[in-house]
């Protein structure tokens, strides 16, 4: 019984992804066959070539932009979260409980939807619409990251270690670089992966603030969809290409991601 449930879950999880990759290797005639083909075809190369040469989708630009945005945001979130997580977990200062509570509270607010109008006006005022910094800056901090790093540091760094470093005369920043960062490394890796995926996935704000000729990969697919709604294989080739980086990350670090999610969940 257990095996049946799990096997079924696995098939249902994997099938749409499998289907996406299959369609990327087929022609449009094959894609609308009934029943549809379930094995790879031989047209992947030509589909990719056609995707890359489609002018109005700017797919390559989208891929490059997404990489820039995701890496920048990930580095920033991890750095800022470890700094704050260190302070909240290992340092005593007035108001720390209230400030941490405030961060938790803001995690409940859907800032993306709530703040979309003023953020747009802000970007217009600064003249940043259409530029990558408009999609980078609002995501540089992440309440979830601070929370996660606070939890992680509480667990992974013994108080005695921080005390010992103090006795040896280390400054707070020195403790951060020599004691905290090495101990946090596994947690940082999980946070980095989650943030990278989340940023890579961002759709609504880039759709609003970027121009069609300078998209991120998700809005570039939306443009493909809009312009070539019936050109299925192009759409699927683009989608498959947009998911591929995430898959590589998942194959390489899947075990850590599962572990990190489970650890975070127990503590939450």
């Amino acid at each position: 019984m257990t095996k049946v449930v799990l096997a079924l879950a696995l098939v249902l999880s994997a099938f749409p992804i499998y289907y996406m990759f299959i369609m990327a290797t087929r022609t449009n005639e094959e894609a609308i066959d009934v029943p549809p083909p379930l094995l790879p075809g031989g047209h992947l190369g030509e589909n990719i070539a056609r995707l890359l040469s489609t002018e109005d989708a700017y797919f390559v630009t989208g891929l490059v932009n997404s990489a820039i945005v995701s890496v920048t945001v990930t580095v920033s979130v991890v750095l800022i979260s470890t700094l704050a997580g260190f302070a909240f977990s290992k340092l005593r200062f007035r108001g720390s409980k209230i400030l941490l509570g405030l961060i938790l509270l803001t995690m409940m607010v859907p800032l993306q939807q709530m703040g979309v109008v003023p953020l747009y006006e802000l970007m217009v005022t600064l003249g940043w619409t259409g530029q990558l910094k408009a999609v980078i800056l609002p995501f540089l901090v992440n309440g979830f990251g601070v929370f996660m790093m606070t939890q992680y540091a509480t667990q992974a760094v013994p108080d005695e270690l921080v005390e010992a470093a103090r006795v040896d005369g280390a400054s707070t920043m020195r403790i951060y670089t020599s004691v905290i960062l090495p101990a946090l490394r596994p947690g940082m890796a999980v946070l980095a992966l989650l943030v990278f995926m989340q940023t890579w996935n961002e759709f609504m704000w880039p759709l609003i603030v970027l121009n069609p000729d300078n998209p991120v990969v998700q809005t570039s697919i939306a443009a493909l969809n809009q312009a070539h709604g019936t050109d299925y294989v192009m759409l699927f080739t683009g989608t498959a290409a947009s998911v591929l980086p995430l898959f590589i990350v998942f194959v390489a670090f899947g075990r850590q991601i599962v572990g990190g999610l489970m650890e975070g969940a127990v503590k939450a």
Partner: protein, 325 residues
């Protein structure tokens, strides 16, 4: 934010405050004292600084904009609560609210039930556990846009695999985009597909912290596995269930990408008669298609109110799970 630095003349306080620092060799030096007091604020300041600019400011400003007749680079007239009054009599807005709530309920309930079943199965002693866990997380790492593209194709009227499958059961081809109920089902399954495995993993993690002797004691008392599941597992999972419901509430009520991609065109109308337009789409449409910023801002605040109410209702509901019985 104010820095809190005690004056040097203040007498040392009794008690165990900052024991690490006071034992330090440099305890007398001004720099060490300053470092101890001020650096924590320095460490958290990047977060709060950026959050103030890109989080707090937009929220407050949205409230201000919502009280105006406000066009981009155009007229800005203070109109008080006019936008709100207009909204609560706007059928299109209520249509979006009903759609959002409908798809939220349709996606969240099966999702959590399935996730519980799946977590229970994953918790059994089986070979290849990691493989199964990775497998059910696969959908989470697929981008939402990709999910929407694939499912929209699967739900196609003429060539879609789902209609083809249903035809074996004598069901005529369904035009999934056409009706409220069918488009809600299609979009809900996209959400379920992506998030069920994630919720299962979270619930599994919590399941593993339940002490084994609880089950042993129950087994000795003659409780069946089913009874153990309902009377031990579910009540012990309550905090985690609340957490997952909470995450689903925010995600569900801000639903945007799936219905936009399902539509295929960027007008944010959610189908010919708005049958699957969500509140988030309504906001974007008012602001960036009709350039009625004040109206969109008011809708954003009503969305926030909706989320608050939804969270409270769900909280009081899930709090009772496995409570008394």
């Amino acid at each position: 934010m104010t820095l809190h630095v005690d004056s040097p003349a203040a007498p040392p306080r009794p008690g165990p405050r900052r024991p690490a620092g006071r034992r330090g060799p440099e305890r007398g030096s001004g720099w060490a004292r300053f470092d101890l007091r001020a650096t924590p604020y320095f460490l958290i300041s990047p977060y709060f600084l950026l959050f103030a600019i890109f989080g707090v400011f937009p929220l407050g400003y949205t409230l201000w904009v919502s009280l105006h007749e406000w066009e981009l680079a155009g007229d800005k007239t203070l109109v008080g609560l006019d936008n709100y009054i207009e909204l609560i009599t706007d059928e299109a807005f209520w249509n979006a609210v009903v759609n959002t709530l409908g798809m939220f309920v349709m996606s969240t309930i099966p999702q959590l039930v399935l996730a519980l079943l799946l977590a229970n199965a994953l918790n059994k002693r089986i070979r290849g556990r990691l493989f199964f866990r990775l497998g059910v997380l696969l959908p989470l790492i697929t981008s939402v846009v990709a999910v929407a593209v694939v499912f929209t194709q699967l739900y196609g009227r003429d060539y879609g695999m789902i209609n083809w499958f249903l035809s074996f059961f004598g069901v005529d081809a369904i035009n999934w985009q056409n009706e409220k109920w069918s488009s809600w089902i299609a979009i809900s399954t996209m959400i379920d597909w992506r998030w069920t495995g994630y919720n299962a993993i979270i619930l599994l993690a919590a399941m593993q912290t339940i002490p084994k002797d609880l089950y042993e004691a129950a087994a000795i008392d003659g409780a069946s596995p089913r009874r153990q599941f309902w009377q031990i597992t579910i009540p012990m999972l309550r905090p985690t269930i609340i957490f997952t419901v909470f995450i689903s509430t925010i995600g569900g009520l801000t639903l945007f990408t799936e219905p936009v991609m399902f539509d295929g065109n960027p007008t944010m109308s959610g189908g010919a008669t708005g049958q699957y337009q969500t509140v988030a789409m309504f906001i974007v449409k008012e602001a960036f298609r009709d350039f009625d910023f004040g109206y969109a801002a008011a809708a954003a605040w009503l969305l926030f109110a909706l989320i608050l109410v939804g969270t409270l209702i769900n909280y009081s509901f899930t709090r009772r799970i496995g409570g008394s019985k």
